[in-house]
């Protein structure tokens, strides 16, 4: 990649969302699609111009100026009756920006994306587009969606963004509390998308986790954060600490039991601890509980020496706040390792009656694995084979295949 392309890519990542937002703030006559087109145009112009003239000293400023001029021309064209002078235009920009109670433009956009009327998935997608400045292809790859799927979702979102000026209007101070919890959810989901492996993406997306941490850090540095923000930060850091050990040298997925604990990043664990201590308060959120669970895993010297009893108790609290079949599955597993095997199998058997979970490979894999540990190889094989059929992800099929092979060796 040449230097100019590199500079343009770097600027794109830093400024795309801000450029779009600045155009939207500057004029109510520009809709999001047009604003994006103008910014794209400016980048194309930059690539041509800079090859001839060289990269200007203030390359970002150059882009803002070109965008502004392009927008100005567009408005003039659309509104011949009311020509807007440069001065008036500048004045509108300044008033719009100075009205804001947000110091950080990126945070302001983030809170705009956390609009309660949009689905959580849409909130994540538009955040990745306008705040993190990812290109559509990259969003699709990161979220395990098709490009077409992301485009369609953005198209529907744009309609709403335009009609309700979602990126334009700053949420009312009274709405900030609700917005903050949605912002947390967006960051949490973005992190999880990077952390888990799903269909369509085979590797862990460390970049996405990093973006989530950066957004949350910006939130922590502002006056808008609360104790939940700290807990969320701790949770993400505890999980990040284990990042490198989740894939073996040969590229296979490793579960907690088989990870090389010496590869866990102790600096990140310490940092996570600091945030976890800072997050302590009376109102315990799901982030607090999940961070506590992640913490207990991080400080355990080995899988066997993990404090499963406390983890079991934490899952019970999590179920009280948000009862859902995933949590119940994890609860059952913790219960098994805490020593209550009968109780664990009872929950797992009940979960098989669940319409969704029964079709989902994780439940059958868990039941298979626990049967295998109990020495019920025939039962274990049945469940593991079922799980292997249910997942479409090759890495997960291989992972289950390995457990099945081990059983073969034993018999």
């Amino acid at each position: 990649m040449d230097k100019i392309q590199q500079e343009a890519d770097h600027l794109y990542k830093q400024h795309f969302g801000k450029l779009v937002a600045s155009l939207l703030y500057a004029s109510h006559d520009i809709d999001p699609e047009t604003a994006e087109d103008i910014v794209q145009d400016a980048f194309s112009a930059a690539l041509i111009d800079w090859r001839l003239q060289g990269i200007p000293a203030n390359s970002a400023g150059w882009l803002y100026k070109v965008c502004r001029n392009k927008a100005l021309n567009k408005i003039k064209r659309d509104k011949r009756l009311e020509p807007l002078t440069e001065k008036q235009y500048q004045a509108t920009i300044e008033t719009r920006f100075s009205e804001s109670s947000f110091d950080d433009q990126q945070l302001k956009l983030l809170f705009a994306c956390a609009h309660p009327d949009l689905t959580p998935k849409t909130q994540v997608v538009i955040t990745l587009k306008y705040v993190v400045n990812l290109r559509v292809e990259s969003i699709a790859k990161n979220l395990g969606m098709t490009i077409d799927g992301v485009d369609k979702l953005l198209l529907r979102a744009r309609q709403k963004i335009r009609n309700e000026k979602i990126l334009l209007e700053e949420p009312h101070p009274n709405a900030l509390k609700q917005r903050l919890s949605i912002v947390h959810k967006i960051i949490y989901l973005t992190f999880n998308e990077g952390y888990k492996s799903t269909a369509g993406k085979e590797i862990l997306r460390e970049d996405l986790c990093e973006e989530a941490l950066l957004l949350n850090k910006a939130l922590l540095d502002s006056s808008l954060s609360n104790k939940e923000t700290c807990a969320l930060h701790a949770l993400m850091l505890f999980n990040s600490a284990r990042f490198k050990s989740r894939i073996s040298d040969s590229g296979e997925l490793l579960d907690l039991e088989n990870q090389d604990r010496s590869k866990w990043n102790q600096d990140l664990i310490r940092l996570a601890h600091d945030f976890f201590t800072r997050s302590q308060c009376e109102a315990v959120s799901t982030y607090h509980i999940e961070a506590a669970i992640a913490c207990l895993h991080c400080i355990a010297p080995s899988f066997e020496q993990t404090d499963w009893r406390t983890i079991e108790g934490l899952y019970i609290r999590l179920l009280q706040i948000y009862p859902n079949p995933f949590v119940e599955l994890n609860y059952a597993i913790a219960k098994y390792y805490a020593g209550d095997k009968q109780g664990a199998f009872k929950i797992l058997n009940d979960l098989q009656g669940h319409t969704f979970l029964n079709q989902y490979y994780l439940l059958n894999m868990a039941i298979g694995k626990l049967h295998q540990m109990e020495g019920n190889d025939n039962l274990a094989r049945q469940y593991l084979l079922k799980a292997q059929q249910q997942t479409i992800l090759q890495k997960e099929k291989d992972f289950i295949g390995k457990i099945l092979d081990k059983m073969k060796d034993r018999s």
């Binding site: 009327d117 949009l118 689905t119 959810k185 799901t286 948000y322 319409t355 969704f356 989902y360």
Partner: protein, 119 residues
């Protein structure tokens, strides 16, 4: 967050003629949709409903009831948490069955029951 019931409505006469396996095999895969709702903390529960049931009024019990003939009869439900009716609607719109035209969804806020204080 408030609770909503997303009612699934389909042509019951048509599904009534299908074998149960075929009924569930013909629609789109719902696993990813439900999984993402669980991950985002919006899913509470849901199930499909069998087609044959009973219809009870003050005077009689009908074995089929009018619903069996219904073009848009209730064939299942999901209960979700959402910020507001708009978000619940947007979630219902993103259901694969709706997107691919297999079913329609009725979005109904669950009304918290209000007890009258005893006098």
């Amino acid at each position: 967050m408030e609770r909503f019931m997303l009612i699934v409505r389909e042509d019951l006469k048509r599904i009534g003629r299908l074998k149960t396996e075929d009924r569930f095999a013909e629609g789109p895969d719902m696993t990813d949709w439900i999984k993402s709702l669980i991950e985002s903390g919006n899913y509470i529960g849901g199930e499909p409903l069998a087609i044959k049931g009973r219809y009870v009024t003050q005077n009689e019990v009908l074995s089929d009831g009018p619903f069996i003939e219904a073009k848009e009869g209730i064939s299942g439900y999901d209960i979700i948490l959402a910020e507001n009716l708009e978000q619940a609607t947007a979630i219902a719109q993103s259901c694969p069955m709706v997107m691919q035209g297999f079913a329609i969804r009725e979005v109904r806020p669950i009304q918290p029951f209000i007890f009258k204080d005893p006098v």
